[in-house]
């Protein structure tokens, strides 16, 4: 299903149980990146916490605290400090 676009990153956010708190998930990152390292950079950069979740369907998913959709998107596209991904492969949900 997802094989058509291997490097298709999906970013989704969802509302948490208590109030306005949200969670951002990043999934479908290309395999060539080390998720752990990315997470470390992101955590530092966005000043948020996060984890890597192993999902049976989606593989490794990065979860971040707070609504980081815009930040993550910029980070994924960024050429200097980011991942230099194509903007078209990134899909931000829930705007």
């Amino acid at each position: 299903m997802y094989a058509a676009k291997p490097s298709h990153s999906l970013i989704a956010t969802r509302q948490q149980r208590n109030g306005r708190k949200t969670l951002t998930t990043v999934q479908g990152l290309p395999k060539k990146f080390d998720q752990k390292k990315i997470l470390k950079v992101i955590k530092k950069k966005f000043a948020c916490n996060g984890t890597i979740v192993h999902d049976s369907e989606m593989g490794e998913v990065i979860q971040l605290q707070g609504d980081q959709r815009k930040d993550v998107q910029e980070f994924l596209i960024d050429k200097k400090e980011g991942l230099e991904l194509d903007a078209k492969t990134i899909k931000v949900h829930g705007f």
């Binding site: 299903m1 997802y2 999906l10 970013i11 509302q15 149980r17 899909k91 949900h93 829930g94």
Partner: protein, 330 residues
């Protein structure tokens, strides 16, 4: 650093407009609800006096008349100037006509507020009696007493009464014929008839209610789906995927979404849905159909330009386990 602007929210949103009021007619909606309208119209026509048809309460008929008025006015414009001088003479025969012409006048007055060209109409209202005179000159007929030559002649088109009766030998004037044309066109080819009118694609704004603290009710999803010609399930699926949540449909076909959402958020999501799954990318027409083609792909077929393109299946993001940590532990 951050030179690329986030693409998603900067997308041009020209193709979709959310209307403020509910009574919007557009190419899509009308073809969609055509059957219903037929029913309405038939009954309206058979119950009401045929003369009122032109300004009847049916939206479709109104539209026709509006168009028809616009067209007819151009024709009328010329004689009007002469008429204003000739009011005095012309008024007398009009008075003689008695009932028939009076009804015609009434008819005209009803139509007026609905007409699109206001300033012209205002002028007309000032020179109220000019109408009488104008008809006489346009028709250039001495037999005014027999037939109200203003506007649409009496007679029900569908029932074949009045002027449309089979045995009727009276001359059918231009406006009646024009009206007939638009009525028929509207009935059998609504797309064409509407194409002349409003082309904008309008959708009523989503109505959001809050249920309790954590649930949002999307009340008019059925109506919106109907207007877009998409199944509820597809739209629902998309909404849930985009909002990253879940929900259910309640008894009166309203959508209950888990989580708190503003109307604006849902509107944005709907807008994106329309951009992606409704509008034709080639001609930007919203008059499209979504079909499941072979090999499990969805295809959008445009009804106006005939183009066909595949659309991506709705991808649900990873549904993270939010809250309720206890459930996570297996």
């Amino acid at each position: 650093m951050s030179e690329p602007i986030p693409t998603a929210d900067r997308k041009p949103r020209k193709s979709v407009a959310f209307a403020d009021e509910q009574t919007v007619f557009d190419g899509n909606g009308e073809t969609e609800t055509n059957g219903v309208h037929h029913g309405d119209k038939d009954s309206a026509e058979s119950h009401s006096k045929p003369a009122e048809n032109a300004s009847g309460d049916d939206g479709q008929v109104d539209e026709v008349t509006a168009m028809f008025e616009g067209l007819a006015k151009k024709k009328k414009k010329k004689p009007k100037m002469e008429d204003e001088e000739a009011v005095d003479e012309e008024e007398k025969p009009a008075e003689d006509d008695g009932e028939l012409d009076l009804s015609a006048l009434k008819k005209k007055k009803k139509k007026k507020p609905k007409a699109p060209e206001d300033d012209f109409e205002a002028k007309l209202a000032e020179a109220g009696a000019t109408e009488e005179g104008r008809t006489d000159t346009t028709a250039s007929a001495p037999e005014t007493a027999a037939e109200p030559l203003t506007g649409v002649q009496d007679g029900d088109l569908k029932d074949g009464t009045g002027i449309w009766a089979h045995s009727s030998t009276a001359e059918v004037n231009y406006e009646s014929l024009l009206h007939r044309f638009f009525t028929l066109l509207h009935d059998s080819h609504p797309d064409l008839a509407v194409g002349g009118g409003g082309k904008s694609y309008k959708i009523p704004p989503p109505q959001c209610l809050r249920e309790g603290n954590k649930k949002t009710i999307f009340a008019n999803i059925a109506e919106i789906c109907k207007r877009m010609k998409r199944t509820d399930e597809h739209v629902t699926q998309f909404l849930f995927a985009e909002l990253g949540t879940s929900g259910s449909v309640d008894g009166s076909r309203r959508l209950v979404i888990k989580g708190r959402f503003q109307q604006k958020q849902i509107e944005n999501v709907l807008r994106r849905y329309i951009m992606e799954y409704v509008t034709c990318k080639t001609c930007r027409s919203p008059d499209t159909e979504l079909n499941k083609g072979e090999n499990r792909l969805y295809f959008v077929t445009c009804n106006s330009c005939g183009s066909r393109r595949s659309v991506t299946a709705i991808k649900t993001g990873f549904s993270a386990q939010v809250g309720k940590r206890k459930r996570m532990i297996k």
